[in-house]
C-alpha cells in the first residue's frame, strides 16, 4: 500500500517546486573544485545547514523511465557533469557512471528514457558535487550486501561495516525459526537481509521511532517480498515490543552512537545530510546503547543473542566490561567483535 502511494506521487504532483539550486549557493561552493572536493576532507562550516527537501520522495531509481532524452543531450550532460569533478576525485566519476545507470532504463538507447527530466538530473548532480549531498540520497539507494536498499533523506544510509551483523546472527543456534528484533531499523536493511534467510517460523520485528524510517522500511520490505516475515512497528526501542517480551531469539541494533560533541566535525555527507536522530548518541554517545542494554534481559528469551554496533574500541570495551560485571547473572560470552578495519565495532553476547 505504501509503495503504491509513494510511486503515484510523482504522477499526481508533477513536482511544482522543481527549481535549480539558488545561485548564491552555487557560487559559495564553487571553490570546492580545488582540493577540498575530496569526500574525506574536514567540512567547511555552512551558513545554511538545512538540506533542501527532495520534492519527490520516490527514490530516483524506482521512478518510471518516462523522460525521453536524445543520446546527444545525455552525452553532453555527461561531459558537463564530468567537468565539474576534479580528476583527483575518482569516486565522483564512479558516482556519475552509477547515476546514469540508475537514472536511465537503458543509457545506450537513443533517445534514452530517463527516470527524471535532464534538468533535474543536472541539479541533483550539482548538489551532490557542491553541497556534498550523499550519492545514495541522489539515486535513492545503497547497495548493501546483495540488496539494493531504497533510502532517502531522513533515514541513515546503511554502512558497509553493518553488513557483518547479518553473518553474525546467522550463526546463532536456532536462527532460522527464531523471532528477532531490529531496533532502530531505519531503511530496514538489516531486517530485510535477515528475513530473507529465515525459515518458515522465523520473524523480524523492525522498530523505528521515525515515521520516514517506517515508510522507507515498508517500501524495502515490500520490494523484497518479505512482508510475511517482517513486522514493522512504530515506536521507540522496546516500547512497541510489549507483546513479545521474553520470546525473542535475538536483538539487533545499530543505534545512534556518535557523541554529541563529535557531530560538528563529521564528514559533510553525514553531518549535513543524514538525520541527527540516527547519529546523535548523546553525551559519550552511549545514551541509547545503555538504554538498550538495560531493556535487553526482559525481551530476550533464555539463550537469546544480541548484537549492537558501537562507535568503536572505547565504547565496545566499556559495554563489554559493564555487561559482564553489572549484569553478569543475566548474560554470558559477552565480547567485542572486530569489523573489517580491525576496529571493535560490535558487542555481542547471550542471555543466560
Amino acid at each position: 500500500m505504501a509503495t503504491l502511494s509513494l510511486s503515484s506521487r510523482p504522477l499526481t504532483f508533477l513536482r511544482p517546486n522543481r527549481t535549480k539550486p539558488p545561485l548564491h549557493r552555487l557560487l559559495r561552493h564553487k571553490p570546492l573544485a580545488s582540493s577540498s572536493a575530496s569526500a574525506l576532507t574536514p567540512p567547511t562550516p555552512r551558513a545554511d545547514p538545512s538540506p533542501t527537501p527532495d520534492p519527490d520522495p520516490t527514490p530516483l531509481f524506482l521512478r518510471s523511465a518516462s523522460h525521453p532524452v536524445p543520446a546527444a543531450a545525455l552525452a553532453s550532460f555527461r561531459r558537463r557533469a564530468a567537468a565539474l569533478v576534479p580528476p583527483s576525485a575518482p569516486h565522483l566519476h564512479r558516482h556519475l557512471r552509477w547515476l546514469l545507470v540508475d537514472a536511465a532504463a537503458d543509457p545506450s538507447s537513443d533517445p534514452a528514457l530517463l527516470r527524471a527530466p535532464l534538468d533535474d538530473l543536472e541539479a541533483m548532480w550539482t548538489r551532490h558535487v557542491r553541497e556534498r549531498r550523499p550519492f545514495q540520497y541522489v539515486v535513492g539507494n545503497e547497495h548493501w550486501r546483495d540488496l539494493v536498499v531504497a533510502v532517502r533523506e531522513g533515514v541513515l544510509i546503511p554502512r558497509p561495516e553493518t553488513e557483518a551483523v547479518v553473518d553474525m546472527i546467522r550463526k546463532v543456534e536456532g536462527f532460522a525459526d527464531g523471532w528477532w528484533a531490529d531496533l532502530g531499523t531505519g531503511s530496514g536493511a538489516i531486517a530485510v537481509a535477515v528475513a530473507r534467510e529465515l525459515g518458515h517460523e522465523g520473524r523480524v520485528f523492525a522498530v523505528d521511532v521515525s515515521e520516514v524510517a517506517v515508510e522507507v522500511a515498508t517500501l524495502n520490505v515490500q520490494r523484497y517480498g518479505v512482508q510475511g516475515k517482517v513486522e514493522i512497528r512504530h515506536g521507540s526501542w522496546f516500547e512497541p515490543l510489549e507483546d513479545v517480551k521474553g520470546k525473542l531469539m535475538g536483538v539487533i541494533s545499530n543505534p545512534p552512537y556518535i557523541p554529541t560533541d563529535d557531530l560538528p566535525g563529521l564528514q559533510p555527507e553525514v553531518g549535513w545530510h543524514e538525520p541527527k536522530l540516527a547519529l546523535d548518541g548523546g553525551k559519550e554517545g552511549l545514551e541509547h546503547l545503555l538504554h538498550l542494554c538495560e531493556g535487553l534481559s526482559s525481551v530476550l528469551k533464555p539463550g537469546g543473542f544480541f548484537v549492537f554496533e558501537t562507535n568503536g574500541n572505547k565504547q565496545s570495551e566499556f559495554l563489554v566490561d559493564l555487561i559482564s560485571t553489572k549484569w553478569n547473572s543475566s548474560f554470558h560470552n559477552v565480547e567485542a567483535v572486530l569489523d573489517f578495519a580491525e576496529i571493535k565495532r560490535f558487542v555481542t553476547g547471550y542471555r543466560r
Binding site: D146, P160, I258, L279
Partner: protein, 466 residues
C-alpha cells in the same frame, strides 16, 4: 509428421529389401539395426531390447566392449565412409542435389571429426578402460571406479555418436539408390534432403569436435594486461579488451567487468572480464599469449611508429564442484577499502573494492565492479577460486597441454599474434600463419577464423605427437 512417417516406412522397406537381397544378414543387419533408432529421429525411442529382439541377436547388444562398434558400416554394394572419402568425389555447393557430393562432404567431415577426437587413441583407451571395468575388485576404490566408468561412458558416447552418424550416411545412400531402383520419386527426394541435412549437421559436429577438452564447455575469465611502454601500451590493452568484449557479444555471451585498473592518461593497466556461456573457455583459450601492435601512436606528438604489447590470460570457471580447489577460510586475507577514520556511522563512502589474498599460494583477486562490499567479495572469491582451480589443473596435468597459462606465467616473448596498422595493414597469427588484411574487423571482434584455425592446428599437433 508426414516426413517422419515416410522415413519410418522407408526404413521398414529398406530393412525388408536388405533381408531379401542379402544371403547372410548377420554381419550387416546388426549395425543397421543400431541406426534404425537414429534414422527414425525423435520418434525412434524404441527400447534397445525391442531392437535386439527384432534382430534376434541380443547377446551382442548387451556387451559393453567396443566389439559392437568395430563393425564398419557398409552400403549394399560395399561402400564405406572411408572409401567414400577416398574417392575424391567433387564436393558441389549444398544447393546442388547430387548425392555423391553430399556424401563426400559428410564423409570428409567424419574423417576430420575422427581426427579431432583422436579416434585411434579413443578406441584403444576404451578397450583399456573396459578391461579395468571388468576387474572384480574395481569398486573397492569407489572414487577411482567412478572416474573410470565416467570416462568409459564419455568415450563410448563419442564412439557411438560417430558410428551412428556414419551408419546414417550409409543408410541414406542405400535408401536413395533403392528409391531410384524402384522409381520412387518421393523417397528419393526425402533421402536427398536427409543427405543435405546431414551435411549441415556434419559441419556443426566438426566445430564441436574442436572443443572436446575437459573444460571447453565452461565459462571463463579473460584477463588483459598492458606491457611496458606507458600510455600507448595501456591504450592497446584497452583495444584488446574491447576486441574480446565485442567478440563475446557476437557469440551472445554475457560479459561482466570484474576488475579494471585504468591507465593514468588512457586505456587500462589491467582488466578482467567474466564471459558467461557455453564453450566460452573452449574458444577463448586460443587467445592466451602476447598480442603485439605496430602503429603510429596517437599519444606521440612526434608521430613515430610504436610497438606495444598486451598479455592475455584465459581461466576456465569450472562447473564440476568435485574437481575444484578446496579453499580454507583460514588461508584467506581479505583486504577492504578503509577510510582510515573512525568508520561506522561517521563515514559515508561508496568505495567497495575488495582484495582477497590466498596466503599459501600468494594468489590474489580484486573486485571493484559491484556496488557493495558483500557482492565484491563474492565476485573476488569466484575469481580467486578459478585462479586456484587453474593452478590445480596445471598441477594435475603437467604433461597435458590443456592447461592455459596465467598472466604471471606468460612471458613477454610468447607472442601469438601481430596487429600491424602501419606501414601496411595486417593481422597475422604467428602460430598458424593465418592472416587477414583488415585489422579493423579483427579489432571489432571478428576473431572466429583465428580461433578456429588455431584450434584445428593445435589438434593436428596433438595428433602428430600421439
Amino acid at each position: 509428421m508426414g516426413s517422419r512417417l515416410l522415413a519410418r516406412s522407408a526404413a521398414a522397406r529398406l530393412l525388408s529389401h536388405l533381408r531379401r537381397r542379402t544371403p547372410d544378414p548377420t554381419h550387416r543387419l546388426l549395425p543397421h539395426g543400431a541406426s534404425l533408432a537414429s534414422l527414425l529421429g525423435p520418434t525412434g525411442d524404441i527400447p534397445a531390447a525391442a531392437d535386439s529382439a527384432l534382430l534376434r541377436y541380443p547377446a551382442r547388444w548387451s556387451s559393453s566392449s567396443t566389439a559392437a562398434f568395430a563393425e564398419v558400416p557398409m552400403t549394399a554394394d560395399g561402400l564405406t565412409v572411408e572409401s567414400i572419402a577416398g574417392k575424391g568425389w567433387t564436393i558441389l555447393p549444398e544447393a546442388e542435389s547430387d548425392w555423391r557430393s553430399h556424401a563426400a562432404a559428410v564423409a570428409q567431415s567424419i574423417k576430420l571429426i575422427k581426427k579431432r577426437l583422436k579416434w585411434g587413441w579413443i578406441l584403444e583407451r576404451t578397450k583399456q578402460l573396459a578391461v579395468v571395468l571388468e576387474k572384480p575388485d574395481l569398486w573397492d576404490d569407489p572414487v577411482f571406479a567412478g572416474r573410470v566408468s565416467r570416462e568409459h561412458g564419455e568415450l563410448m558416447g563419442k564412439i557411438k555418436s560417430v558410428n551412428q552418424f556414419e551408419q546414417e550416411l550409409i543408410e541414406h545412400i542405400d535408401m536413395l539408390r533403392l528409391a531410384r531402383e524402384e522409381n520412387d520419386n518421393e523417397l528419393e527426394m526425402e533421402s536427398m534432403r536427409a543427405l543435405a541435412d546431414m551435411r549441415r549437421s556434419a559441419k556443426e559436429k566438426e566445430l564441436n569436435a574442436l572443443l572436446s577438452g575437459d573444460n571447453d564447455s565452461c565459462s571463463c575469465f579473460i584477463e588483459v594486461q598492458a606491457g611496458a611502454g606507458g600510455t600507448e601500451s595501456m591504450d592497446w590493452a584497452a583495444m584488446v579488451m574491447n576486441m574480446y568484449r565485442s567478440w563475446a557479444q557476437r557469440w551472445g555471451y554475457t560479459i561482466t567487468v570484474v576488475e579494471e585498473m585504468p591507465g593514468e592518461v588512457a586505456g587500462i593497466k589491467r582488466a578482467t572480464i567474466k564471459v558467461d556461456g557455453e564453450y566460452a573457455f573452449g574458444y577463448a583459450k586460443a587467445e592466451v599469449g602476447v598480442h603485439r601492435l605496430v602503429r603510429i601512436s596517437p599519444f606521440d606528438s612526434g608521430k613515430r611508429r610504436h610497438t606495444s604489447f598486451a598479455a592475455v590470460a584465459v581461466i576456465p570457471i569450472l562447473g564440476d564442484a568435485s574437481s575444484r580447489y578446496q579453499i580454507k577460510d583460514s588461508d584467506l586475507r581479505i583486504e577492504r577499502f578503509r577510510s582510515g577514520g573512525p568508520g561506522g556511522q561517521h563515514a559515508n563512502t561508496t568505495e567497495s573494492a575488495i582484495r582477497i589474498v590466498h596466503i599459501p599460494t600468494g594468489i590474489s583477486a580484486t573486485c571493484q565492479n559491484e556496488r557493495s562490499q558483500h557482492m565484491n567479495k563474492a565476485s573476488a572469491m569466484a575469481v580467486l577460486q578459478s585462479r586456484l582451480d587453474q593452478l590445480e589443473i596445471a598441477r594435475q596435468a603437467q604433461m597435458n597441454a590443456e592447461h592455459t597459462q596465467s598472466l604471471n606465467e606468460i612471458s613477454w616473448g610468447n607472442q601469438i599474434r601481430s596487429y600491424v596498422l602501419h606501414p601496411y595493414r595486417m593481422v597475422k597469427d604467428l602460430r598458424t600463419n593465418y592472416e587477414v588484411s583488415d585489422p579493423d574487423s579483427v579489432l571489432e571482434g571478428d576473431l572466429d577464423d583465428f580461433i578456429l584455425n588455431y584450434l584445428s592446428s593445435s589438434l593436428d599437433e596433438a595428433e602428430v605427437s600421439v
